[in-house]
């Protein structure tokens, strides 16, 4: 089976070498999606000899993942792994989230942090996560323990669906609804994380209220949308 690791990277010149080194033992290909970085992210990828695509301007994390999935689809990959460019995800955890996709049991596997030791998160984040869990539960009937986790594995069906439609910004939670509404099987697997190497989380406290509101609205809108025609059958 052909596997692709997608690394969305926006101004990650300091973290990217570390991430790429961590991935050295990975049995598959690597794609860096340089999302219009203003630093030497592209140069780092080029020097490391991994494949990369560069957006002409910043599209956001959702656009980056989608570009990676479009690449995976066009180049015939069987599954794709979303692996953050900031060093929080660990290469030695990849096989855990890949297993259920490889055996065909799931289309989308989320690497859940809450169950793993060594992951601490703030109080606000916990509340937010709880609200999202509840909303997902109401809108799709599914239980997802860590809906905001970005360490994921996409099977062939997920690659096909998300190439057509993937949310723009803050895509983690919304994509779960999209997947579920369009008949994908979602699974979770607990994984170990690293604390951030450098840089800041994309969500600070000031933005978190906006984040909650926007994602909540997006979830409801998504649940009202018509189903996407994505399968060939």
């Amino acid at each position: 089976m052909k596997a692709l690791v997608i690394i969305p990277a926006y101004n990650e010149e300091t973290n990217l070498p570390f991430v790429l080194k961590d991935l050295q033992g990975f049995d598959g290909d690597i794609l860096v999606v340089n999302d219009g970085s203003k630093d030497a992210t592209e140069e780092v990828a080029r020097r490391a000899g991994v494949a990369f695509v560069s957006h002409p301007f910043n599209l956001g994390i959702g656009g980056s993942i989608q570009t990676g999935l479009k690449y995976a689809q066009r180049n015939g990959y069987d599954y794709a792994i979303q692996f953050d460019g900031d060093g929080q995800h660990r290469a030695d955890q990849i096989e855990k989230i890949v297993a259920q996709v490889e055996s065909g049991k799931a289309d989308l596997v989320i690497g859940t942090r809450t169950l793993a030791e060594g992951y601490k998160c703030g109080f606000t984040r916990k509340i937010g996560s709880l609200i999202f869990c509840l909303m997902i539960r109401i809108l799709t009937g599914k239980r997802v323990a860590d809906p905001t986790a970005g360490f994921r594995c996409y099977g062939p069906n997920a690659i096909r669906l998300f190439s057509l439609a993937y949310p723009d910004d803050y895509p983690e939670v919304e994509s779960i609804i999209t997947a579920s509404r369009n008949g994908l099987i979602i699974a979770e697997e607990s994984v170990l994380m690293r604390s951030r190497q450098s840089g800041h989380s994309s969500i600070n406290r000031r933005k978190s209220a906006y984040y909650m509101l926007k994602v909540s609205l997006a979830l409801i809108v998504d649940a009202m949308r018509e189903k996407i025609v994505w399968s060939e059958a």
Binding site: V53, S54, H55, P56, Q66
Partner: protein, 119 residues
């Protein structure tokens, strides 16, 4: 001719001139040009004769004719703005897709240049 009417005619005339000028310069696409030309004509008609507004207001049971003007004006602007939001969303979506396509094609081109084959 009273001053009010003269001023409103002058104003509506200059709006029409602005729209025509923008069309001539190619800065207003036909789709929007038609909408704004039509709007200008309505404004000029309303400025030229008070009777139109008064008759229309009484016909729908509004006793203070300017109210009808405000109502219709606001509704018109609201609809135009919603239309712009839709257009903007579509353009932003297209822009998004184009950027992704450019990035992917550039990568493919590089790969082809490296291997010297077009597969």
């Amino acid at each position: 001719m009273d001053v009010t009417r003269l001023v409103s005619l002058l104003l509506s005339g200059s709006i029409l001139t602005l729209v025509i000028w923008l069309i001539r310069e190619g800065r207003l696409r036909e789709k929007y040009a038609l909408l704004w030309l039509f709007t200008c004509i309505v404004i000029i008609l309303l400025a030229a004769s008070r009777r139109i507004l008064e008759t229309a207001a009484i016909a729908v049971g509004i006793y203070y004719p300017p109210s009808l003007l405000f109502l219709l004006g606001l509704l018109f602007l609201l609809m135009v703005n919603i239309g712009y939001a839709v257009t903007l969303s579509r353009l932003s979506d297209n822009n998004h897709k184009l950027a992704q396509e450019v990035a992917l094609l550039k990568q493919e081109l590089k790969k082809m240049a490296k291997t010297g084959t077009g597969d």
